[in-house]
């Protein structure tokens, strides 16, 4: 049965997202390639950042792509898991930081 959502083979279609808006699509790929290639940060460092973001953003395609990329670059499993924990900790910290808003309102409203 065909699935409508999140099929693994749809990752192969990623290069075709230029369809219907080729100019924007091509500019996106130029940007994407520059942003994810080695610069001041190494390819390894960027791949670990991408893996953490992919996991935080719950993108199965990106998790697939960047887990494979990290394996290809010889990155250890525990290094990958550490990167995911950075993402998880940032999400937890970001959530708790927003409790400031709640605490400010509580302090204003309570007698």
């Amino acid at each position: 049965m065909n699935q409508l959502y999140y099929e693994q083979k749809d990752l192969d279609d990623f290069p075709n997202i230029t369809e219907f808006a080729p100019e924007s699509g091509e500019k996106f790929f130029d940007y994407y390639n520059i942003a994810t290639s080695a610069g001041k940060l190494s390819e390894r460092e960027k791949s670990l950042i991408a893996l953490a973001v992919a996991t935080v953003r719950h993108c199965p395609y990106c998790i697939d792509a960047y887990t494979n990329k990290c394996l290809s670059l010889g990155i250890d499993n525990d290094e990958m898991m550490e990167a995911v924990h950075v993402g998880a900790a940032m999400v937890a910290g970001d959530t708790l930081a927003h409790a400031t808003q709640m605490r400010k309102i509580i302090r204003k409203k309570e007698m």
Binding site: P15, N16, T18, S42, E43, S72, G74, D76
Partner: protein, 328 residues
């Protein structure tokens, strides 16, 4: 309307070559004579495409070796690449090395390195050094866990020990004239990353954590044949891996694949386009000689290459060969 990229992923290797104007794939020279002198090996690694192991008995005869030496005398042949199995386990390895070294050409021996620790074979380190043999050692990963998953428990530590002994006599040290290269191949169903990035990591870990040294890292894409093919099938990765290879096809590499400048000789003297075709029993064809007895440089240097879909392994990404990536 744009042609959809995913359609290209369904092409056979031959179709893909046609698409980029590289069909038929033809040899342009024979610069490398690769000799697979035995299938016997002291290890039985999971990724081994020739399915070598301790129980294999195939050995190249002395007569076939002599014929290879005569073939290697051709001025266009610049490199003699000796592989197996474990070449050290061939009873005529020292004689072969002395014969080939006299030709004054680049002579490579591919070693699992571990065997050099065994008392029976330890003296070969000096034989290699005396004859300035370039050693290519298999070290699939710079970390013990991934390496040993492929090659067996405790093998990583032994390889480090062997490299340390090779370093002692100058192998792997700059300006010593004794080259020790290492071969990386992924410990699973994925492709290797960039050779330069991996070499930097290998050097960082081996130099800093183990105080051992090597010259160059060669990255090899695992070819979906032999024992590695069985692994892909048994782990349910075959379809995905083949798709990954097809997607990664790089037309630039098709012009540089090593079969275009190599002839591979089997233990029994049969000629092949490469070591992978040897395993698939695809001998050199198209009217060119298919046995070292009838070696003819001119015919072999312009033969058509036998291609199958396993050839996608050599054209993926930066390309792959027995001496590493084909492009940067």
């Amino acid at each position: 309307m744009q042609e959809r990229v995913k359609q290209e992923n369904e092409y056979s290797f031959a179709q893909q070559l046609r698409q980029c104007g590289s069909y038929p794939l033809k040899a342009v020279a024979v610069n490398t004579l690769q000799m697979n002198i035995t299938r016997k090996c002291n290890l039985a690694c999971k990724h081994c495409h020739v399915q070598a192991g301790p129980h294999r008995t195939e050995m190249m005869s002395r007569e076939t070796i002599s014929r290879c030496v005569r073939a290697a005398e051709h001025p266009a042949v610049t490199t003699i690449d000796i592989t197996g199995g474990s070449p050290e386990m061939h009873s005529n390895i020292e004689w072969l090395i002395s014969q080939m070294s006299q030709l004054g050409k680049r002579v490579l021996v591919r070693s699992n390195l571990v065997i050099l620790l065994e008392p029976e074979y330890h003296h070969l380190i000096d034989t290699f050094a005396k004859n300035k043999i370039e050693l290519v050692g298999s070290l699939p990963d710079y970390r013990a866990q991934r390496n040993d998953r492929q090659r067996g428990n405790g093998i990583y530590d032994k390889i480090i020990q062997a490299i340390r002994q090779l370093n002692k006599i100058g192998y792997g040290l700059e300006d010593s004239g004794l080259l020790l290269d290492l071969m990386h191949n992924p410990a699973g169903a994925y492709l290797p990353g960039s050779q330069s990035a991996l070499e930097a990591e290998y050097k960082r870990v081996l130099n800093q954590e183990h105080n051992v040294f090597f010259n160059t890292l060669f990255c090899l894409v695992n070819c979906p044949i032999g024992r590695y093919l069985e692994y892909l099938k048994n782990s349910g990765n075959l379809e995905d891996y083949m798709q990954t290879l097809r997607k990664a096809f790089n037309p630039q590499t098709a012009k540089k694949v090593m079969c275009r400048t190599t002839v591979s000789v089997g233990w029994d003297g049969k000629l092949y386009d490469c070591d992978f075709n040897q395993v698939e029993n695809l001998s050199a064809n198209s009217g060119s000689p298919d046995n070292i007895i009838t070696f003819n440089y001119d015919l072999l240097a312009e033969r058509n290459i036998e291609i199958r879909d396993h050839c996608f392994a050599c054209t993926a990404g930066a390309g792959s060969s027995c001496c590493g990536s084909l492009t940067q």
